[in-house]
Amino acid sequence: MPAFLAAIRDAHPLLFDYALSPALKILVLLFAGILPAIAYLTLAERKILGYMQSRVGPNRVGPWGLLQPIADVAKLLVKEDVIPEQSVRWAFILAPCLVVGPALVIFAVIPIGPPAASPTGLNLFIADVNVALLYVIAVATIGVYGLILGGWASNSKFSLMGGLRSAAQMISYEVPQGLALVGPLILAGTLSLVGIVEAQRDAKVWYLFPQFIAFFIYVVSGVAESNRNPFDLPEAESELVAGFHTEYSGMRWALFFLGEYANMIVISAMATTLFLGGWLRPFPSVAWLHFLDFPFLPAGLVGVFWFVAKLTVFLFAYIWFRGTFPRYRFDQLMDLGWKWLIPLALLNLFFTGLVKLLVKG
């Protein structure tokens, strides 16, 4: 920690703990973490899809196309800002913000690394909220308003249909997703995300193994929640032109995509935290795998490394799905959600609770 920060901390501990430190972390996480991650996720997607599809993807801007996201952002920022005459202006402007905001706000509670070893050290999360899981579910739900509002405010038929589709889809899939989250919650006995990761360390097993059904349900409904292939119906370009964002262009349009990619990262990060042991190394209980902790490096850095590595696996899977699957039809999507995932999630919940009762009993 730089000397001047330490000086401030010593002089005004309250100010430092509750205002300065979170603000600095948010700035760093946002501008050095999430936004570049989103930008380069788009590049990764185009590159990986390219190699899956026997082509090379972007390779003109910078070496290996590495400056492509920057060029894209620059282009989108200087594009004309079109607001259709027939649209409901305030809602049209508000909608993209409603998609992006909640997606970014969730990062506040996601632990990307272990808490500090000493009380004065650096916690690798912005806040360890004791109701973090509820907070995530609550905030994630707000995003759907953005899509509906955008679809409705555009005053275009395709947008409206896309908005309605996304409303139905996201509400349907929030139920199994929420139920799937209860599994790890029962096992860990805490709503705090840091607490859940620590519970996995103490249980000596990632919750992926005892909760594989919940994991499966969470991943499937997570893909549906983020409107990604094979559940990308709200923006099915062959059916609804571009769905809810048909009328959007320029940076507003980009905000919707920012939201979508941020959601992908959020959902992957939540899956990592709840089921794959967050910042823990693989098989944290197996002693001879201790070298995976890279003992010569600071523990925080290693934690972040494992967290990002696990996150990457999910993000790669997202892109892989897009390269592989056709799109579900609307009614089939509802079938899958209500007839399969929700009953399965309830069953899983029942058995998890039963086992927990018997073991503790």
Partner: protein
């Protein structure tokens, strides 16, 4: 929304607007394969009514035929089904040859058969690419275009053009196969079946693909025959009618191939039929390359030809999309008096509203894809 009083509509007596939503799919729409416009009446996502509106690509091709001599009309045919120019050429030159009584030498017949079957493969590849991307599977598009490129390269080597080939003349072929062409084509033919396996691996047993296509857009054989449907659409419904077998032309009587048929007449069966047709077309090309006879390329024909005053001919062939036929009337001059085209796309398109009655809007997209229309041919 501001649609409170629409003239001709009954006044609203409820709080909610209960009228169906009318949506124009096209003429600018990602899934209408050109400039097809569908006026769709929707009840939620369910289609109440669908009405295709065509003519956005009308160029008066049939009239153009009357303005040029018989031999100079071949390029017009390229621009109808612009992804299957060779079969259009073949149908037109066949009709002119019938009108003038020309006999095509064997080598030219074999070359035509090879070109027509390569064109069938490339047309089906394009169909598969767009059909898959309409249903949301993105990757087959790039795989099929990779192989389609190679076919277009073969065309380019033969006649210099890739799409608008203009590669046949009434009476025979304008050029011989260039040196090394047979080997290049054989190399493609050898590896192509494995490529079809690759596409099938992505789609055929894919659960989502099956749910999107099995039982969707069912076309009963009787309905198909009533509408005059031909080609893979008809065979998907289980009717084994293929002009290559029924009325063999060019070299089709001398090669072996099977005519795949479907059972249920749904989108999935039509998909399977077309996949198998690609393999069979490949088989035909292989046999033609092996049997390719030597000899002249062009029949003896007068420098200036005139269609007899009362001559009327119709010649139809099995194009990639169905029966493509030309009906030509002569009036004793060097130009056709009338040239009418039987375009498979136009006729197959007519059945779309019947196929999507009560279906969902996503099914409509699948059905447009499975119909495999090219608007250049629908509108001419």
């Amino acid at each position: 929304m501001s649609e409170t009083s629409v003239p001709g509509e009954p006044p609203r007596d409820t709080l909610f607007d209960l009228r169906e939503m009318e949506v124009n799919l096209g003429p600018q729409h990602p899934a209408t394969h050109g400039v097809l416009r569908l006026k769709v009446k929707l009840d939620g996502e369910r289609i109440v009514d669908c009405y295709p509106i065509i003519g956005y690509l009308h160029r008066g091709t049939e009239k153009l035929f009357e303005l040029h001599p018989f031999f100079q009309n071949v390029p017009h045919t390229d621009r109808m089904d612009y992804v299957a120019a060779a079969t259009n050429n073949l149908a037109y030159v066949g009709a002119v040859e019938k009108l003038l009584g020309l006999t095509v030498p064997p080598r030219a017949r074999y070359i035509r058969t090879i070109l027509a079957e390569l064109q069938r493969i490339s047309s089906h590849l394009l169909w598969l690419a767009t059909h898959a991307i309409d249903i949301g599977a993105m990757t087959p598009f790039f795989y099929t275009f990779r192989e389609r490129e190679e076919i277009l390269d073969l065309f380019e080597d033969y006649c210099g053009a890739r799409l608008t080939l203009n590669c046949m003349r009434p009476g025979g072929q304008p050029y011989d196969l260039p040196a090394g062409w047979v080997e290049k084509c054989a190399a493609f033919v050898d590896k192509f079946p494995a490529k079809v396996d690759e596409y099938e691996e992505l789609l055929t047993e894919n659960r989502i693909w099956k749910r999107r296509t099995v039982g969707i857009g069912v076309l009963e054989p009787e309905v198909a025959i009533d509408y005059g449907i031909t080609g893979p659409m008809l065979r998907g419904s289980g009717v084994a009618f293929d002009l290559r077998k029924a009325l063999p032309y060019e070299a089709y009587g001398e090669v072996e191939f099977d005519v795949p048929v479907g059972k249920n007449g749904d989108t999935y069966d039509r998909y399977l039929v077309r996949m198998e047709e690609m393999r069979q077309a490949n088989r035909i090309v292989r046999q033609c390359l092996d049997k390719l006879p030597e000899g002249p390329l062009m029949a003896k024909r007068p420098r200036v030809v005139r269609g007899a005053a009362d001559a009327e001919v119709y010649h139809g062939i099995e194009g990639p999309k169905g029966e493509i036929g030309f009906y030509i009337v002569g009036d004793g001059t060097t130009n056709p008096y009338r040239c009418h085209v039987r375009p498979p796309s136009f006729i197959n398109l007519q059945v779309v509203p019947a196929m999507v009655q009560g279906a969902l809007i996503a099914d409509l997209i699948a059905v447009i894809g499975t119909t495999d229309i090219v608007l250049g041919e629908v509108d001419r």
